[in-house]
Symmetry: C2
Subunit: 235 residues, 2 copies
DNA sequence: TGGAATCTCATTAAAATTAACCATAACCCT
DNA sequence: AGGGTTATGGTTAATTTTAATGAGATTCCA
């Protein structure tokens, strides 16, 4: 049973449409790792993620995956592709089990008479633009180190929730590169791991990394060296 | 004098609004190379490009520019940033002389009552999503060679209209890399330049480059070598 | 008006950088 | 113990950076 009040786009849609929505929406259940649609597919349906988490990714000719983003229910997927009658630019895969609601484009068109619905759709689209534009920023401006530093600043919780493999995928880095960067940050005393929780010791350094795209080799080396000498009573 | 019928978003807006638009729009003239707004600026105004051509680009910490796209009048610029109250993700610079119309966000909000206007705005947003998603594709999936090949397939005219410098900027390549790729394509007899016009000799090869991301080193070398030998009568 | 000086753009080569790729070892946990 | 995960070393590929050069155009001024 779908509660449209929970879905931002439909929440403010005139209630008279809700009954009709219930009748015209087609529900489909997916298991973990199953594919909702492939990059290049076309569709006349809106995909509404009602339950679970999905990820969108592109596949390069060599087979490597570039992750666009992860999305949690409730949200709309690929609505612009439908509006523009364009093929999906990415593959959609479930990370968990979940449910997708399918709604034919023709229905949507009718709802645009409702200002609140239009506004909801516009909001949904603008948030996609923001998302893509931040992706462009990450992929074109930030170096690998800056990507990691940026994620630490923005969403430190991810580092304690997900495996390093998955974080690397989110950042479109190889696990090796990611691991090396983490090691480097530890060596620089920018971060530390205490009882399996990552803690930021020097957030100033992280900001500098994001802004300049580089970690100065051994920022704290001299300071550490002095401390070492002090401990040994030589200073 | 602005003709709103020429601007897709306003064209279908109820005519009763046109008079009001004329009164509330603030026109600003720009010269070539002047900046409309900088990456990070915020604004409560819609920017409507009425005359001329602009380009949007990001600047990396090292000072290099990543071009997002070029746009010709008439079009809307950065409408999503305004909707989301987000800073502009890129700098906007005039390539030619031109005119921008500024319209306060509050006005826009009112026009959303008009379904055609909403739809126009939605269209404008979806086209931005498509644009960004194709940019993501170019920057994350395509190799340098594939980028050039792709542009040759999609818009050969650009190669005869713009300087190599500018084409390189559009593709976010250094002029050197771009030049090398062009030389390579010539050597591979994929393209040829006749009276300053670039012509594609082997479009099949271009498609293969885009799909596989690589030019097989000297695809035609063996064939050419055989031909050479035949000409010399040694075969 | 001719020609030197200056600029811009294009090309080429060599060096440096970044991050992926490959292989292998270490590490955990259940 | 063994599979998934993480770490690390060595190598390679792609592209940028730096530098040098050339080819046209433009300016400037005697």
């Amino acid at each position: 049973m779908v509660n449209f009040n929970e879905i931002p786009m439909f929440a403010n849609l005139d209630k008279k449409f809700h009954k009709e929505l219930h009748d015209s929406i087609y529900m489909k259940r997916f298991t973990k790792n199953s594919i909702v649609f492939y990059e290049g597919d076309e569709s006349d349906y809106f995909y509404i993620l009602l339950e679970g988490t999905i990820r969108l990714f592109k596949t390069s000719p060599k087979g490597s995956q570039v992750q666009i983003n992860r999305m949690k229910a409730p949200t709309m997927i690929g609505e612009y592709a439908c509006f523009e009658k364009e093929p999906f630019p990415a593959t959609c895969e479930f990370i968990t089990d979940g449910v997708i609601g399918l709604l034919h484009f023709d229905k949507i068109y009718k709802y645009l008479d409702d200002k609140e619905f239009s506004l909801g759709l516009i909001k949904s689209l603008t948030s996609k633009v923001i998302l893509l534009s931040s992706l462009v920023h990450k992929e074109t401006i930030l170096s690998s180190e800056a990507k990691v530093a940026d994620l630490m600043i923005e969403k430190i919780s991810i580092f304690n929730r997900l495996r390093n493999n998955e974080i690397a995928a989110i950042l479109n880095l190889t696990p090796e590169t990611f691991s090396r960067i983490i090691s480097k940050f530890k060596k620089e005393s920018i971060i530390i791991v205490e009882n399996n929780k990552l803690k930021i010791l020097n957030s100033e350094a992280l900001y500098i990394i994001v802004e300049t795209n580089t970690v100065k080799e051994c920022t704290n080396c001299i300071a550490n060296f002095k401390k070492q000498l002090q401990l040994e009573g030589k200073l």
